[in-house]
C-alpha cells in the first residue's frame, strides 16, 4: 500500500552504564519512516526521544553506551555500521537539525564556510568557491533574504530564526533522504516557529524528504506530523497516525498530554490541567507500567508491563501499552467534555 520504509528501527535499546547503575534511556523502540513522511516522537525531557534520534545518527556511541536492536537504512544497519560507514552517511544521506540554533553553529567560522565544510567532507573535488555558491543557493531555498550578502556572515550576526533556517540549509546541503529534526522550533518564539514549520513542511513535500521530528510540543506535531510515537520513560507508550493519536488516544499518558494543551476552541479552564507527579528516574523505574504511579486509572494488571500492541480491531497500526479495555478507555478519557487525564481542579 505504501512505499518501502527508508528507515526501519526494530527493538532499539540504548543503555548507559553510570555510577548509579545501568540507565536504560531507550527501551524497545520500533518504528518505520517512509519517504516523504513525517514521524513525530513526542515526550517530556528524559523520555528517550533525543537519545533515539541521536543513536540512529551514531552520536551516542561511547564506551559506556550499550546499544541493541537494529536501525536499517537502505539495507545497512546503522547500529552495526562502522564509524567510518556512519560518517559517510551522516550529513550526506541522513542529516540532523538541532534544537538550539544559537549554540549549534561554531561561532568562529562563517556560516557559508560551515555549510561548505559539510559539502566538501562528502564530495571530493568540490572547490571552496563551488561550495560557497551552493551555500548561497541553499540560503535562498530556505528563505534567507539577501543570501549572497549574508552567506559570509558569522553566526552571531544572524537572528535565532534565521540561524535555524541556516541550520536547515546546512542539513539540506547534500540533499539527504532522511532529516532528523531534534526540537527544531523549541528555542524560537511562536511566530518564527510557525515559519520554520512551514519551511519544513514545504521541503518535505517538494523533496520527498523523510523526517523524524523530535518534540515535546503537541502543537507542532498537529501542524506537521503524519505519524506519532508517544514516549514515556524510555518506552513507546502509544503510536499511530496523527488522527488516531489526537482523536482516539488509547494511553492515559497521551490523554494527559492532550488534556494539558491550551485550546482556543474550548472554554478556558480555571486552571490548566497537568499530569501530577514527575517522570520516574530511569535508574529506578517502577515495576510494571512505568506510568502507573502517576495514573489515576491504575488497576490490578498494571503491576505487569503491558506489551505495545494493537488493541483496536480495525486499527492495526495503532498500538499502545495500557491494560484498560478500549471501551473503558473511551469512557475514562472523557473529562469535562474533552479528552483529559483528570478533571481540572476548579
Amino acid at each position: 500500500m505504501s512505499p518501502a520504509p527508508l528507515l526501519s528501527v526494530k527493538g532499539l535499546r540504548v543503555g548507559f552504564s553510570t555510577e548509579g547503575g545501568l540507565l536504560q534511556a531507550v527501551d524497545d523502540v520500533s518504528f518505520e519512516v517512509r519517504p516523504g513522511e513525517v514521524v513525530a516522537i513526542v515526550g517530556e525531557s528524559g523520555s528517550g526521544k533525543s537519545v533515539t534520534a541521536q543513536t540512529i545518527m551514531g552520536l551516542t556511541r561511547s564506551k559506556n553506551a550499550r546499544i541493541e536492536g537494529t536501525a536499517e537504512f537502505e539495507g545497512m544497519d546503522l547500529i552495526e555500521a562502522s564509524d567510518a560507514e556512519l560518517r559517510r552517511l551522516r550529513g550526506d544521506r541522513v542529516a540532523m537539525v538541532f534544537q538550539d540554533p544559537m549554540t549549534s553553529f561554531n561561532p568562529v567560522y562563517r556560516l557559508g564556510a560551515q555549510i561548505g565544510e559539510a559539502i566538501r567532507a562528502h564530495r571530493d573535488g568540490v572547490s571552496k568557491s563551488e561550495a560557497r555558491a551552493r551555500a548561497v543557493e541553499l540560503f535562498e531555498a530556505v528563505g534567507i533574504p539577501n543570501a549572497e550578502g549574508r552567506v559570509d556572515d558569522y553566526p552571531h550576526e544572524f537572528s535565532g530564526g534565521m540561524r535555524q533556517r541556516a541550520m536547515i540549509a546546512m542539513a539540506l546541503a547534500l540533499e539527504p533522504d532522511l532529516l532528523i529534526a531534534d526540537e527544531p522550533t523549541t528555542a524560537l518564539d511562536v511566530t518564527i516557529q510557525a515559519q520554520i514549520l512551514e519551511l519544513l513542511r514545504e521541503l518535505n513535500r517538494k523533496r520527498n524528504l523523510a523526517t523524524i521530528l523530535i518534540t515535546h510540543d503537541l502543537g507542532v506535531v498537529a501542524e506537521i506530523a503524519d505519524r506519532v510515537l508517544v514516549m514515556y520513560a524510555g518506552r513507546v507508550v502509544e503510536q499511530g497516525t496523527l488522527d488516531q493519536i489526537f482523536f482516539d488516544p488509547q494511553h492515559p499518558y497521551t490523554w494527559g498530554l492532550l488534556g494539558s494543551l491550551t485550546r482556543l476552541d474550548k472554554p478556558r479552564p480555571v486552571r490548566l490541567p497537568q499530569i501530577s507527579g514527575a517522570p520516574p528516574s530511569l535508574l529506578a523505574l517502577p515495576e510494571g507500567c512505568s506510568f502507573r504511579p502517576r495514573c489515576p486509572h491504575e488497576f490490578g494488571p498494571c503491576i505487569d508491563l503491558p506489551p505495545l500492541q494493537a488493541r483496536l480491531r480495525d486499527e492495526p497500526g495503532h498500538c499502545d501499552r495500557c491494560w484498560l479495555s478500549p471501551e473503558a478507555k473511551k469512557e475514562k478519557r472523557q473529562v469535562a467534555g474533552q479528552i483529559g487525564l483528570e478533571a481540572p481542579t476548579p
Binding site: 560518517r87 551522516r90 568562529v108 567532507a121
Partner: protein, 320 residues
C-alpha cells in the same frame, strides 16, 4: 583599526605614566636611598653631599625630579649614578640576551604546551593522559632554581653535552648561540609547558561538550577534523591570553632567576643589580622598557583575539 591603534596608544601612555610614577614614589619613600649620600661615599662631608645634590638636581621638588628623569629617558640622556653611563645604551646592550632567551623559550613552551595538552585531551582518562598530567604537575611544581642546577650538573658537568652558560651573540656564532641557550630555554619553558598543557586540556574537554561539536560530527566530518578545526580552535582563546601575559613579562626581563643561574647578561640581571645598588635611573629605564613590552604584547594579543573569535572583532559590540 585606526581607532583601535589610537585607543591602544593612549592606554599605553597611561600605563607607562602610572607605572613610572609608582616606581618613582617607591624609590623616594624607601629609607636610606638618598642618592647624593650614596654617591658621596662613606667618608662624605655635608658640603660634598650638598654639591652632589645640586649637580644632580636632587634638591629640586619631587615632581620636578620626575619630569627631568622622564625627559632624559625619552631623549636618551639618562645615566646611572655610578658608574655614570647611559642607561639606554645599557638596556640596548642587554636586549639581545633577553630577547633570545624569551623568544626561544616561548616557542618551545607554546609548541610543547599545545602538543601535550592536545594529546592529553584526545586521550582523556587514558594512560597517556595520566602520564602527561604527571609530567605537567611536575613541571609546574619544580622551581626554576632547582631545575637549572640539576640540568647544569648532569648535562654540562657530568655528560658535557652543553657548554657552561654565558650568552654568545647570534651574530657572532649562531651554533654557539644555540648550544648556550638550549638549557636556559628548557628551564624557562618547563613551567609553562605544564601550565599550558593543563589549560588547553581542560578547555578542550569543555569545548567537546558544545553543541557545535555535535553538529560537526553530525555533518560527517572526520574525528581529526572535528578535533582540530572545531575543538582546538575554540580552545585557544584562553591560551592566547595566558601567552600574552607570560611572554610580555618574560621579554620585559622577569626571567631573572634563569638569567642569573645561566649568567645570561640580560635585562633581568641589569634590573636586579640596579635595585641592589639603589640606582633609580636604571630601575626607571627598565621599568619603562618592561611596561612598554607588556602593553605592546597585549595589544598584539587583542588582535589575535579578534582573529580567533569574530565576536570580538575590533570596534564592534559582541552579540548575544
Amino acid at each position: 583599526m585606526a581607532r583601535f591603534v589610537i585607543r591602544r596608544l593612549a592606554g599605553m601612555i597611561a600605563v607607562l605614566f602610572a607605572v613610572s610614577v609608582i616606581v618613582f614614589v617607591i624609590f623616594n619613600v624607601v629609607p636610606n636611598t638618598n642618592p647624593a649620600q650614596l654617591l658621596a661615599g662613606k667618608n662624605s662631608t655635608p658640603v660634598l653631599v650638598k654639591s652632589i645634590e645640586e649637580e644632580w638636581g636632587f634638591d629640586n621638588s619631587l615632581p620636578e625630579q620626575y619630569l627631568t628623569m622622564m625627559k632624559k629617558i625619552f631623549t636618551g640622556e639618562l645615566t646611572s649614578y655610578k658608574p655614570r653611563i647611559s642607561v639606554d645604551e645599557q638596556i640596548i646592550e642587554r636586549i639581545p640576551a633577553t630577547f633570545s632567551l624569551s623568544i626561544g623559550a616561548a616557542i618551545i613552551w607554546l609548541f610543547f604546551g599545545l602538543l601535550l595538552g592536545y594529546l592529553s585531551a584526545l586521550r582523556a582518562g587514558g594512560w597517556l593522559d595520566r602520564f602527561l598530567t604527571g609530567f605537567a604537575i611536575a613541571g609546574i611544581s619544580i622551581p626554576v632554581f632547582l631545575i637549572a642546577p640539576v640540568l647544569l650538573y648532569f648535562l654540562t658537568y657530568k655528560l658535557e653535552i652543553f657548554p657552561n652558560a654565558q650568552y654568545v651573540p647570534l651574530t657572532e656564532n649562531p651554533s654557539e648561540w644555540l648550544s648556550h641557550l638550549i638549557l636556559p630555554w628548557v628551564t624557562l619553558a618547563i613551567l609553562s609547558i605544564g601550565f599550558y598543557s593543563r589549560v588547553l586540556r581542560s578547555n578542550m574537554l569543555d569545548v567537546m561538550n558544545e553543541d557545535y561539536v555535535r553538529t560537526a560530527r553530525a555533518k560527517g566530518l572526520s574525528e581529526r577534523r572535528v578535533m582540530s578545526r572545531h575543538v582546538l580552535r575554540n580552545s585557544l582563546v584562553p591560551i592566547v591570553t595566558l601567552f600574552g601575559l607570560d611572554f610580555g613579562a618574560t621579554i620585559a626581563g622577569t626571567a631573572i632567576i634563569t638569567e642569573y643561574l645561566y649568567s645570561l647578561n640580560g635585562i633581568g640581571l641589569y634590573a636586579i643589580e640596579a635595585v641592589q645598588k639603589f640606582e633609580l635611573p636604571p630601575v626607571m629605564g627598565v621599568t619603562i622598557y618592561g611596561a612598554f613590552f607588556v602593553v605592546f604584547v597585549n595589544a598584539l594579543v587583542d588582535i589575535a583575539y579578534a582573529y580567533l573569535d569574530p565576536r570580538v572583532r575590533l570596534g564592534e559590540s559582541g552579540a548575544s
